[in-house]
Amino acid sequence: MDIERKQAEIVDHFVKQAAVLDAEASLANLIAEATSHPSLFAFSEILSVPNLTKLEGTQFASHLELLRLFAYGACSDYKSNSDRLPALSADQVRKLKQLTVLMLAEGNKVLPYDQLMQELDVSNVRELEDFLINDCMYAGIVRGKLDQLRRCFEVQFAAGRDLRPEQLNNMIQTLENWLGTSDNLLHTIQDKIKWADAMSEENKKHRKEIEEKVEDAKQSFK
């Protein structure tokens, strides 16, 4: 969540800019700046600024498309649509790779090196590990363990990417499951506590009966 704290100000800055800029070219520049910023990994706030819709249908429409790609897409999406999208600077390429790692981490906790190298268009393990260490872990967007022996990256924490609207239901469902599980657990614990109380009452009564019998036996013996 530190990453969210870090980028909150940056998001705020670009949202304010996007709301006031008038010329389409300036908005296109803003998108290029936002998608190059080294500490920004969240784009849905900027995307939801109404002012940006004026780029639709103009010569800068591809910039808006690019912003959508950075919010929800990955390297492979750029490759398959590169003819309709602006060329990327080195910063943008790096960022898109970082966002791709986040997206891969969404589905799995263990990311095989081969899959990462293919998705990120990286030719060797050394380059891949350097990228994961310098541009992902040091940037604070992921935490995890590089397992050279099993050639995979075990993800312990990954920053959240922008959510596509269709993902919301899945998230709500998972939260409801978790809530249900927690409620069931609480009820089970309460039932167990009641059971334990009942058993201890039972034991006390039983112990009392035994003591009375012993007492009676002593009396009768005397």
């Binding site: 998972t174 499951n177 599980t181 927690s182 657990l185 614990i189």
Partner: protein
């Protein structure tokens, strides 16, 4: 204002030393306030000793009937499973440390000593009582703190006690109830329950604004560690030690049983029987206690497994 407690008023402390209010009332001191820093240092030091007893000194001041512990430092003494004594080199160390402190501008005096009882609870054994009595004779105001690092892990909070002894021969008005403690076999000869010769003080903690800031930064790490730690794993050697101690006690009780059975042809002594029973009763109570702690550890593991591993995307 929360940092006011860190100010040391030398004149007031000197005046208090002269008045010696504790000399007229054996129960004068009733409260202890321990700083977060001192607590952390004592617990970490006690944990580092594992099953070996460790000891150290506490620095601080007094505030009415409260002893305020500001800081603590370890003493370079050799401990054993059941005993730690400050030897000559420790005394030399104490003197050097106190002098160096004054030179460094730290005005707090030594106000007590702490040591650990790994795995058998916080209270004063026979030797502890005599050590503390000596300290209270020559170094007042002086406090004894005992920490059980092993139970600290399993209880999820710091197992700590602060005590002061009564003067020689003093009989406290109300007999304090001696809480049942599992005493390891290799500690029995020394322990004996001396609860009539000392009393425990209420402990509260305090922290500075800087401590609060630092602890807040560690909050996430603390939670992750708390949720991911398990007494089943962290306390393995402690539990193994307890079970072997229990086995020894069982053997001992069995041997005594055998003698008694043999001896009972000679002089049936119901007292001996009671004594064995109480011994066996203690053993069964200890074994139940060990098991309950294990079952608690397992319960928390099952609950965590259910909460965090059963929900799927």
């Amino acid at each position: 204002s929360s940092d006011g407690i860190y100010y040391y008023d030398e004149a007031a402390q000197t005046k208090f030393q002269h008045e010696k209010p504790w000399a007229h009332d054996p129960n004068y001191f009733r409260r202890v306030r321990i700083s977060a820093l001192a607590l952390l240092k004592m617990v970490v030091h006690a944990r580092s000793g594992g099953t070996i007893e460790v000891m150290g000194l506490m620095q601080g001041k007094t505030d009415g009937d409260t002893i305020v512990v500001m800081d603590a430092f370890a003493l370079p003494v050799e401990g054993t499973e059941t005993r730690v004594n400050a030897q000559a080199d420790a005394y030399e160390y104490m003197v050097d440390y106190s002098q160096a402190n004054k030179q460094a501008g730290r005005l707090e005096n030594v106000v007590g000593w702490y040591h650990s009882h790994p795995g058998y609870g916080c209270w004063l054994s026979g030797i502890d009582v005599s050590t503390q009595m000596l300290n209270q004779k020559y170094q007042e105001p002086f406090l004894a703190v005992v920490i059980d690092p092993t139970r600290t892990v399993s209880a999820g909070k710091v197992e700590i006690g602060a005590f002061r002894t009564y003067p020689e021969g003093y009989k406290p008005p109300d007999e304090p109830v001696s809480e049942y403690q599992t005493i390891p076999l290799n500690k029995i000869e020394d322990f004996g329950v001396h609860c009539k010769q000392y009393y425990s003080l209420d402990i509260t903690y305090f922290k500075s604004s800087l401590d609060s800031h630092l602890l807040d930064l560690l909050w996430n790490k603390y939670w992750v560690n708390t949720l991911s730690s398990s007494p089943l794993l962290g306390n393995r050697d402690y539990v193994a030690g307890q079970i072997s101690d229990l086995a020894e006690k069982l053997e001992q009780a069995e041997n005594q049983m055998a003698h008694t059975r043999f001896g009972s042809f000679l002089a049936p002594s119901s007292r001996k029987k009671e004594q064995e029973e109480s011994q066996l009763a203690k053993i069964t109570r200890d074994s139940a206690k060990i098991t309950v702690e294990q079952v608690h550890g397992l319960m928390s593991q099952v609950i965590k497994d259910f909460l965090f591993n059963s929900v799927r995307q």
